[in-house]
Amino acid sequence: MNARQRKLIYRILPYTILTGIGLCFLLPLLWVLVASVDPNAMQSLKLPSQLTMGNYVEVITSPENQRAYLIGLVISLGQAVLVVLLALLAAYPLSRYQMKYKKPFMLTILFMTSLPITAVMMPVYQLFLGLKLYDSIGGVILFYVASSMPYGIWMMKNFMDSVPRDMEEAAWVDGASLLTGIRRVVAPLMVPGICTVAIFTFSGSWGNFFVPYILLQSPEKFPAALKLYQFFGQYGMVDYGSLAAFSVLYAVPAIVMYVLSQRFMSRGFGLQGGSKG
């Protein structure tokens, strides 16, 4: 092998490996996309003999599915709004005041962002039975808010730290109260940060399966995640097309949220802020 051949291999090899990896990642995904428009979808990926929107129509026109989808949206949107409001309030003193226990408080918050929620669900279930919150959509929202609060506060505080203080102070001189200052001056300057927190919270609960699986019981209260799982159990072996169409529809909000988040996150991807699985 001469030097030129070796150089060529060095140039081509990374492309070959990456293409291979890309294919492995693509195939399972391609199946769900193709099967969703195939009237005779099978378990394996195959070229459809004809294309149909029938699977989608079937899934969308079912009132049960619509309901589950709507419940999922109510839960995730409700949670996102509450987390943003509460985190905005909490972040303010953490960002602006000198407080004695600020550092340990923030470390506790960071610590809580990384704890696996799965581990606390048994006692949460018991607690919900006691508080009469079991099998209630509002209860699910409350728990979601609590579990994403640490993350929300941590992010929001970091975003708020980068908002200059002089503009708030100018508002105070004009007679604005603290809350007005936050609402009229600080919050508008933090729109990208607020959107980032909202999007991350929304995606987190939209994709979550375990929390509603534990906290809800009545099928008519199931959000999309549970409905899809139920669907999988009932018709999974027969109706691959509808199952795939449902999966795609359920994945759409998560994808939209991700695309939106890219517009708000100016600085690529850093490790400050932690993450929730």
Partner: protein, 296 residues
């Protein structure tokens, strides 16, 4: 406009104004997050059950749940499976693959990077139940993988039965690798190119540059990412539950699934809680390590 002030710079505020701001979020975290954590410790010492006698009368059973746990062979299997799942899918799988992709993507064609990056990201953005479905059908008896290998003349393999742990590990790698990829892409971008160039001028080999410049430079990201990815994987439930349900046998029974089964299938909530405490303790240790790695 209660705190309207004239002439002074700041709105009037008492020493406890901060309390008003922090109270709502702290209260909700205390009730729904911190209190359950404390309850975990408490319930794990009780005979709490969903049905029967014990459901009505809560009794302290001391260390019974723990004694039972250490004698229960399924606990040992679950701990082992959890470790295999953590190391296989998170520590090695996602980290190494994510790093490899990030490294290979460096200085490649822009469009190519974008296409590969988007495909890998798609697995991450997709909700876990959908991931489970996609990978379930991929590894299924009549699935895509078998269709591919039979077209090459090999005979079908019942992947979900023969190597169930491998399939859930690969599923989690498929779902999670993009996170590590992004972390390492950001970390690699931060390595100053001057140092690398200087090393090239000095005649250092590619391998030498990799081991003595790039790796030490991004060591911090590697540790932090390892911790985060492990923590995320520790709590994985839906992905395994929907793909294999912990089976066949107990072959993919990880701690979260075992905990769920004990509490809600066998109605032994106290025992399930004792198992969840195990998960929680592992999580606490890892989280503390994570915070330490962040502070450095």
């Amino acid at each position: 406009m209660s705190s309207l002030t004239i002439g002074s710079q700041k709105p009037k505020r008492s020493t406890y104004t901060w309390l008003f701001f922090l109270l709502p979020s702290v209260a909700i975290m205390l009730v729904f997050f911190i209190y359950p954590i404390l309850l975990t410790f408490f319930y794990s010492f009780t005979n709490l059950a969903l049905t029967g006698e014990a459901a009505r009368e809560l009794k302290f059973v001391g260390l019974d749940n723990y004694a039972r746990m250490f004698q229960d062979p399924t606990v040992k299997v679950s701990i082992w499976n959890t470790l295999v799942f953590l190391i296989g899918s998170a520590v090695i799988g996602q980290q190494v693959l994510g790093f490899l992709i990030a490294l290979l993507m460096k200085q490649r064609n822009r469009t190519f990077r974008r296409v590969i990056g988007t495909i890998v990201l798609a697995g991450w953005v997709t909700p876990e139940i959908v991931c489970a479905l996609c990978l379930y059908s991929f590894f299924g008896d009549d699935g895509t993988l078998n269709a591919i290998i039979t077209s090459f003349g090999f005979s079908e393999v019942t992947w979900l039965f023969t190597v169930p742990m491998l399939t859930v590990i690969l599923a989690n790698i498929w779902h999670g690798t993009a996170f590590s990829m992004m972390v390492f892409q950001a970390a690699l971008d931060d390595v100053p190119s001057e140092i690398e160039e200087a090393a090239v001028v000095d005649g250092a080999s590619k391998w030498k540059i990799f081991t003595s410049i790039i790796i030490p430079y991004i060591k911090g990201s590697i540790t932090t990412n390892a911790m985060l990815v492990t923590l995320q994987t520790l709590g994985v439930f839906g992905l395994i539950y929907a793909m294999t349900g912990g089976g066949p046998g107990n072959s993919t029974m990880t701690l979260p699934i075992f905990m769920y089964n004990q509490a809600f299938v066998n109605y032994q909530l106290g025992y399930g809680t004792a198992i969840s405490l195990l998960l929680l303790l592992i999580g606490i240790v890892l989280s503390l390590l994570y915070i330490r790695s962040m502070k450095e």
